[in-house]
Symmetry: C2
Subunit: 198 residues, 2 copies
Amino acid sequence: VAQRERRRPGRRPGPSNTRQAILAAARSQFAASGYDRTTIRSVAEDAGVDPALVLHFFGSKQRLFVSVVELPLDPGALRELVAGPPDGVGERVARFAVTVFEDEDALARWTAMIRSATSEPAAAQLLREILTERVFVPLAQTLGVRDARLRAGLVGSQLVGLVMARHIVGIEPLASLSVDRVAQAIAPTLQRYLTEPL
Amino acid sequence: VAQRERRRPGRRPGPSNTRQAILAAARSQFAASGYDRTTIRSVAEDAGVDPALVLHFFGSKQRLFVSVVELPLDPGALRELVAGPPDGVGERVARFAVTVFEDEDALARWTAMIRSATSEPAAAQLLREILTERVFVPLAQTLGVRDARLRAGLVGSQLVGLVMARHIVGIEPLASLSVDRVAQAIAPTLQRYLTEPL
């Protein structure tokens, strides 16, 4: 299985490097081509490894996809968003999200996920989970508001729509607006969705 | 070119019926499979006509797509949205949009467009045009506000995100909420994007 690895003298990539190379290739392909047109074979080719090695590390295309779009969002970041006065949580979430999307790697993950979620049930389910259970439901619950799941869905709708309009479809001048101005524009929306009466 | 038509005695579909059959087949395929996987040939097959007839009526796949996703939004509807007190325009637009998405045919067009816009530059350009020049820029201009294009983009981001979250990805309970409650939830967002300081 790892023959192609062994044939590269002088480089000696460990399993960790190989896994990272596969992840990098998969991330870039899922973002550029979407879920359907990305294959285990094409990812393996890009990463310079045998397709069997991709399956060895990740098991299936769906699990590879899940690994790739795993959001760079640690529990500490979430606690930070909730810390501070509740009437500033909209601005903190807005600034955090808009800043995350400025990061090329993070944006590629979000783009891949959104693109794939429009046609692939597994990707749609993952996007649902991330927007609700993993991020915004806990956030809303920590704020102690009612309708945490509805609020999470509304916040998710605005953030997914922002990625679509600003980064994927590229509607000007929204697409080239500064992080500050975009965060300022959507902060009251997120604040209302998170803490105010709906 | 129209041989297959002529071979169907008793039905005698006119050019108008044929055109409608092609449009119906194209709409359903673009919605279900997206831009890339829909072909002139597959649409022709579904419509029961020769591929050359599809090209005869529409010229190219891109023009066929544009014809399919042409939004059911007449100038009268737009005037209605702007009529009435400016501080109610958010609610009128919210109610109008949420109601449009309840219509199966209209939702299929929007879904096809959004799905295709994530991977197809021609579709992305069309979505940009519809959300800005054709609908929300004129609306914002009629309201006499500054930053009409930015406001149009923000409204577009929330509406595209709503279609994604409620109809394509299906985030509950947003997905099964009543038209009234969804319109109520997003109306203040649209109001702010259209008329209030950003």
